[in-house]
Amino acid sequence: MTTPWSGAALAEAIEAFAPGSTEKSKDGDVWLKPEAIFRVCEGLKTRPEFKFDLLNSVTAVDYIDHFEVVYHLTSLPKNASAVVKTRVGLGRTDASVPSVVPIWRGADYQEREVWDLMGIRFEGHPNHKRIMLWEGFPGHPLRKDYVTYDQSIATLAPDSDVDDTSSRAGQ
């Protein structure tokens, strides 16, 4: 069985090599300061006590007053797993975290997907472009304040004389 690191133990182990980089820990999760992400991830990959050589997933959650970027890590030699999180974008407009692509190539498409759908920048990403939607698409659809086409027409009065096709083009 894969052994999950407990949040408290992981936070302590991270503090040992990168002091002042963790914010808090709860259950199986550790929250890092966004500026410390790159330094900590490098340590998590290379240091013998962790050896997290496989990055399972990078994703983000919109909590309205902030975003949370979530990293799931696995160590193949030790058969252990860990969850690292960070809070960004308290002002919503300039959410950005350092990219981990130089450490794990596997983050390449996943970080692009987070940027495309959630609108969080990854500083230092080698190919920082949208992946699913086209360049010039307005907004980032997975954000909670994104207004979908269905929602935009639902707010119109039923008898309003608006041409459907034109409002779709505006989306």
Partner: protein
């Protein structure tokens, strides 16, 4: 006298018979050699993750069918395990055995499709593909007996499956398991030692294991490079800890190794199904509606669960705010992430190897774009 050449950019797809869906590649050739590759995604993007935010946990099962539409049972299973972990639901034993049988059958079907299309890309027009698809049709017939659907199965429910297998399913399954082995034997007889297959697939698109791990590539691609990483074995979910099966490994890490690993894994799936059939016992296939109602309201929190899908590690990350719909759902799609090393696989190769290497990844555009 050397012939003067200049690089030419060719657009392959999104509608091309060998791109396994609506995948687009912008390739730059110098003569026959590939010098640059740029994959372009998104032609099948349906916003499943956004759609999931306004559906109940049970309704989302239908969305997961449509992600990787050649292995919908495996998608159902991964999603159900995530919901069960999030909501703390204990599945019933018969339900678990049934979904293990269903998902292993689906793995065989998916590997058959992968193999058939790989050989189609190799230039074996029709024959191996028809052999593989014929057997897959029989597996889909079994799914029809289980749940009434062939592709979009939606068979699983929180805590098990929605319906017990009918009486006539079990003899049909027995016959089918024999047929599957026969078909695999047949395919291997003509292909695994075939000199044309050898010369086209051996030594092409070789990727070192460290590079694969660093690029988060999992599944048959990783095992074809000799890394023993199968979640069914390393982190057993459902009842895989009660099953004995061989781990299929190859060390060459080329296109042939990836083909070979898939065929052998399909054989092991037959072994797994036989053990499931031996161990299954009568009982309820899902908890009663008093225990697990239709409208689940998991407590606040998040859960990430990954299973060994036919393509690799398929993970679901669910965040609950205590409501009837997930606050956020993210799918860790192996098809998308396995494409990370596409440039390394293709650049420096020849045009003729492009679709062979591409077919050996075994991707599904429904899952890449979601």
């Amino acid at each position: 006298m050397a012939i003067k050449t200049q690089p030419v950019t060719v657009n392959l797809g999104p509608q091309h018979p060998s791109t396994h869906g609506v995948f687009r590649l912008r390739v730059m050739f110098d003569g026959e050699e590939i010098v640059d590759v740029e994959p372009i995604f998104g032609y099948l993007h349906r916003g499943s993750e956004k759609l999931a935010e306004e559906r109940t946990y049970t309704q989302i099962i239908t969305l997961t069918d449509r992600m990787d539409y050649v292995s919908s049972m495996l998608n159902n299973q991964a999603y159900m395990l995530a919901v069960e972990k999030l909501a703390g639901i204990e599945p019933t034993p018969r339900g678990v055995w049934l979904r293990m049988i269903a998902s292993e059958l689906q793995r065989i079907a998916s590997h058959l499709v992968a193999t058939g299309f790989l050989l189609q890309d190799l230039g074996a027009l029709g024959t191996p593909l028809i052999y593989a698809m014929r057997e897959r049709e029989n597996i889909l017939d079994l799914f029809e007996m289980l749940c009434g659907a062939r592709i979009t199965t939606s068979y699983l429910r929180p805590g098990g499956v929605f319906m017990d297998a009918p009486k006539e399913f079990w003899p049909a399954l027995d016959r089918e398991l024999v047929d599957i082995v026969n078909t695999l034997d047949e395919l291997e007889k003509y292909l695994s030692g075939n000199e044309i297959v050898f010369s086209r697939t051996k030594g092409t698109a070789v990727l070192p294991p460290e590079m694969l791990i660093n690029a988060s590539i999992t599944g048959p691609m990783l095992r074809a490079s000799g890394v023993d990483w199968d979640l069914r074995h390393r982190n057993p979910y459902d009842y895989y800890d009660r099953i004995q099966f061989k781990r299929i490994l190859h060390t060459a890490s080329d296109n042939y190794a990836r083909y070979w690993v898939r065929i052998q894994e399909a054989r092991e799936s037959v072994v797994i199904i036989r053990q499931c059939v031996e161990q299954i016992e009568p009982g309820e296939v899902r908890p009663s509606f008093d225990e697990v109602p239709h409208l689940i309201r998991p407590p606040k929190g998040d859960a990430y669960v990954a299973i060994e899908s036919s393509k690799g590690e398929l993970g679901f990350y669910l965040v609950s705010d205590g409501g009837i719909a997930p606050y956020r759902m993210h799918v860790r799609a192996p098809s998308l992430i396995n494409l990370t090393l596409l440039r390394e696989m293709l650049i420096g190769g020849l045009f003729g190897d492009l679709f062979v290497s591409f077919g050996s990844i075994d991707l599904n555009m429904g899952e890449v774009d979601r």
